[in-house]
């Protein structure tokens, strides 16, 4: 149950460099009136970042684009997307996603 000195140092440093990007834009940008184009740009960030994360999760394995290794995940994404569109339920989407991948891994 010990904490080694160099690990503590790494955790402290890592926590500071994680905290700053999380906090600074909130504190600074909310104080100033952003120009219209910035607001419209920021408006697209949520869709862009989620899509990028999904792209990585679905199409990449071990840091490389690999459709063959990920074909079960890609197939499982179809009912998952369908559930999200039809039910608009986040929990339902997660559950259908998990069930789809279990079934597909069992069958294929």
């Amino acid at each position: 149950m010990e904490i080694r000195w160099h690990i503590l140092l790494a955790i402290m440093g890592a926590s500071i460099v994680t905290l700053l990007p999380r906090v600074l834009p909130l504190v600074v940008l909310s104080r100033i009136q952003l120009p219209d184009w910035t607001m419209r740009w920021l408006n697209y960030v949520p869709v862009a970042v989620m899509a990028a994360l999904i792209g990585q999760e679905l199409f990449m394995a071990d840091g490389k684009v690999d459709f063959i290794k990920k074909y079960i995940e890609i197939l499982a994404a179809i009912p998952t997307f369908a559930t999200a569109i039809l039910t608009r339920s986040l929990l339902g989407t997660v559950v259908v996603g998990i069930l789809s991948i279990i079934v597909l891994r069992f069958v294929l």
Partner: protein, 243 residues
């Protein structure tokens, strides 16, 4: 007079979202991070970290990909400087999330803003920005409820991974590895449906996927996400100008 009435109405609108509602709205995302947190705990333990070190890491850093990479670098005797620099790059993405959510918290003090920002993650961002559609601001209490639930879930998950990881040989058997993808899909779709600018959003989403895959040949995974987000959001703005 009429202005006063409007102000009051606005305050009530925001006040409605309680801490408890934030806790409830976090529930759908718990499973996704439970499995990732569990995995992070297992990886931490197999990298030779003590339970205390893993707990400290989860509570101080609170970022999945960074913790995975950190555990790996510690196992391979990476230097403290290299570890900190890598974590910085991996978590730079939060700049964009924090910036995108800032317009909804104008009413708060810097201290309160720091509390909210320090627990911002992909998932709490996704849930909050969905909530913020058609609203001018996000309730502070609601955001704390969401944030703190996600945070505790993460710490518990990594601890469970560190304790029980040795007996779970194959988490993929339970499909839990796909919970996170499912959650991102849900968050993306719900957002696009509520925004009602489907075509522009589709252009942005498809661009983001193509760019993240394209840039991953020469950028690290986290830098590719940042590049894709910046470029795709810019494409969205340009498409908007055309119409």
């Amino acid at each position: 007079m009429s202005e006063n009435v409007q102000l009051n109405k606005h305050e009530i609108d925001v006040g409605e979202e309680s801490f408890l509602q934030g806790v409830k709205d976090c529930i759908p995302t718990l499973l996704g991070y439970l499995s990732i947190g569990f995995a992070a705990g297992v990886v931490g333990k197999t990298s030779g970290l003590s339970i205390m070190e893993i707990t400290l890491m989860s509570s101080m850093i609170y970022a999945g990909s960074a913790q995975f990479i950190m555990a790996g670098m510690i196992a391979s005797q990476g230097s403290v400087t290299a570890i900190i620099l890598t974590v910085f790059i991996v978590n730079l993405r939060h700049l964009l999330l924090s910036a995108a959510i800032s317009p909804y918290f104008r009413q708060l003090s810097s201290f309160k803003m720091t509390l909210i920002g320090s627990l911002l993650t992909d998932e709490t961002f996704g849930v909050a920005i969905n909530k913020a559609m058609n609203q001018k601001s996000i309730s502070e209490k609601w955001m704390h409820g969401l944030n703190i639930t996600a945070y505790l879930n993460w710490i518990i998950a990594t601890l469970a991974g560190a304790f029980f990881g040795q007996w779970i040989t194959n988490p993929e058997k339970f499909g839990l590895d796909f919970a996170l993808t499912g959650m991102f899909i849900g968050l993306l779709v719900l957002q696009m449906i509520s925004r009602k600018i489907i075509i522009k959003d589709l252009v942005v989403a498809v661009s983001a996927v193509l760019i993240v895959l394209g840039t991953s040949t020469f950028l690290s995974g986290s830098m590719a996400v940042i590049a894709a987000t910046v470029a795709a959001a810019t494409i969205g703005m340009v498409v908007e100008k055309w119409k």
